[in-house]
């Protein structure tokens, strides 16, 4: 197609036109390119360290989720191991129940409900204040949900305990003093975290021992057998607390099982805390679904 003369004239004259840009234009271009590269080049381009950090973060998160999923199995394992030293959890609630005779049962339960919770300094302080000052109005609004939860959990465990006739406490007629004791024995096991109780106990060790002594004197009046049992339990607890910290005990058990596995002996997976066969079965079951 023939080109229009106007178009031809302009095209010929203008095709080779040059307009020199200002010298700072190149610097501007470089600057923009750098900022754009920084924007486009995400964290993964900043170096392998960041990538490694990201991967490790994912792994840690995965482990946390996995361990959370495993928690029900672990509680079963802990329950069984706890039987050897149940009074460990008795001392604090006993002390509280004795120090606050005016408070109702639900108050005691509320106090107990906080034991398995996270052992922050705040809570320890709270509990100290509560035990010395018997007023309950100031904190009533806060732990209402906890109270109900504690009630539920403690009741459940109480039922479980009734089914197992190992304990003498079940045979004893429940009194006002002993009811919280029962709950105190059971609630930490029902709410499970074992390591937490150890951390809580240590700062109040003296108090709890005194409290347990007071309990002994009270219970002495009612049943001599019971006192003996409790005494021995408390002694056991004292020994466990001072000589065998909970965590190290478990570690040694796990270590022992690992040794067994290494030596080709039978491994008691309940001692370890989880059963890989169960985990595998659970995982494959999920996959099938």
């Amino acid at each position: 197609m023939k080109k229009h003369p106007t178009d031809k004239f302009f095209a010929e004259k203008l095709k080779e036109v040059e307009i020199k840009p200002r010298p700072e234009a190149w610097d501007k271009l470089q600057m923009r390119m750098q900022t754009k590269q920084r924007r486009i080049g995400g964290w993964w381009q900043q170096g392998p360290w960041l990538a490694a950090a990201g991967v490790s973060l994912v792994l840690v998160a995965g482990w946390v989720i996995w361990s959370l999923n495993q928690s029900p199995d672990l509680t079963v394992a802990h329950k069984e191991t706890n039987k050897s030293m149940p009074p460990q959890k008795q001392t604090i609630p006993l002390g509280e129940s004795n120090k606050i005779p005016s408070s109702t049962d639900t108050d005691a339960i509320a106090a107990l409900a906080e034991i398995p919770k996270e052992p922050t300094d705040k809570e320890v302080e709270k509990r100290n204040i509560r035990s010395s000052v018997p007023q309950k109005d100031a904190r009533q609004s806060e732990p209402t949900i906890l109270e109900s939860l504690a009630l539920q959990s403690s009741q459940e465990v109480a039922v479980n305990e009734n089914k197992t006739p190992e304990r003498e406490n079940v045979n004893i007629a429940p009194t006002k003093v002993e009811q919280p004791q029962l709950i105190a024995q059971n609630s930490p096991t029902s709410n499970q975290p074992v390591t937490k109780t150890v951390v809580l106990q240590l700062p109040e060790l003296k108090q709890s021992l005194v409290a347990s002594a007071q309990v002994e004197s009270n219970v002495e009046k009612q049943s001599a057998d019971n006192v003996e049992k409790q005494k021995s339990d408390n002694e056991d607890f004292g020994e466990n607390l001072l000589n065998k910290p909970r965590k190290s005990t478990r570690m040694t058990k796990v270590w022992q099982q690992l040794k067994n596995a290494k030596n080709g002996e039978k491994v008691d997976w309940e001692e370890v805390g989880f059963n890989p066969n169960k985990v595998l079965a659970k995982a494959t079951g999920k996959n099938e679904n």
Binding site: T6, F9, F10, L14, V17, W26, K28, L29
Partner: protein, 197 residues
């Protein structure tokens, strides 16, 4: 500068280095083509400062898309197309393209002997800069870049007939302006000659 030029003797070599992200090659490309590509931008955008800004963006686009250049056709042509697209994008985003559809139809162009036109490129650039944006854009795309009306219509979001009428009006206006500029330059040279005598 001489050293840089020596490094990239052939265009293929230069493209290869650019594809590797070589900053020296980028600098070389800029030094070699920036003036020509800025002229392309100025043809579309009358403001030189803004045109320079668009040229910088265009170079960034060239460096980004250098992998897409497969060596088919001229490298300069490929860069010019990218620069034109950048200028059009600027015009679109700034809504600078005003297509004056309601303008009266241009009169039939009188026969003008373009061979007699004795205007420099700078004068012609100034004349093109005086055109309304719609006329200028269509004229640039059709007459200089060589796009078809269908392509222009698609690029600018107008109909083919609008593109044709815009081009027709642009030509008429340009002819008028060139004539005026010619007359002006003639009278000025006459005056200068008389003054010299």
């Amino acid at each position: 500068m001489v050293k840089i030029l020596q490094l990239f003797t052939s265009e293929a070599q230069l493209v290869k280095s650019l594809q590797k992200g070589d900053t020296k090659a980028q600098r070389h490309l800029y030094e070699k083509y920036s003036a020509r590509l800025l002229a392309v931008c100025v043809r579309y955008i009358n403001d030189k400062m803004e045109a320079e800004d668009v040229m910088i963006e265009g170079f960034m686009r060239i460096f980004e898309k250098i992998d897409q250049f497969k060596g088919e056709g001229s490298f300069e042509g490929w860069m010019r197309r990218l620069m034109t697209n950048e200028a059009l994008m600027y015009l679109r985003t700034k809504r600078h393209i005003e297509i004056d559809i309601d303008a009266p139809e241009a009169q039939q162009l009188s026969n003008y002997d373009w061979a007699d036109a004795n205007l420099e490129a700078d004068d012609l650039m100034a004349i093109i800069g005086k055109l309304p944006t719609g006329y200028r854009t269509v004229f640039n795309l059709y007459a200089i870049e060589g796009f078809s009306h269908a392509e222009i219509a698609e690029q600018l979001g107008i109909t083919e007939s609008t593109s044709k009428s815009q081009l027709h009006r642009a030509r008429a206006l340009l002819q008028e302006m060139v004539k005026e500029a010619e007359n002006l330059s003639r009278t000025t040279t006459e005056v200068v000659n008389r003054l010299k005598k």
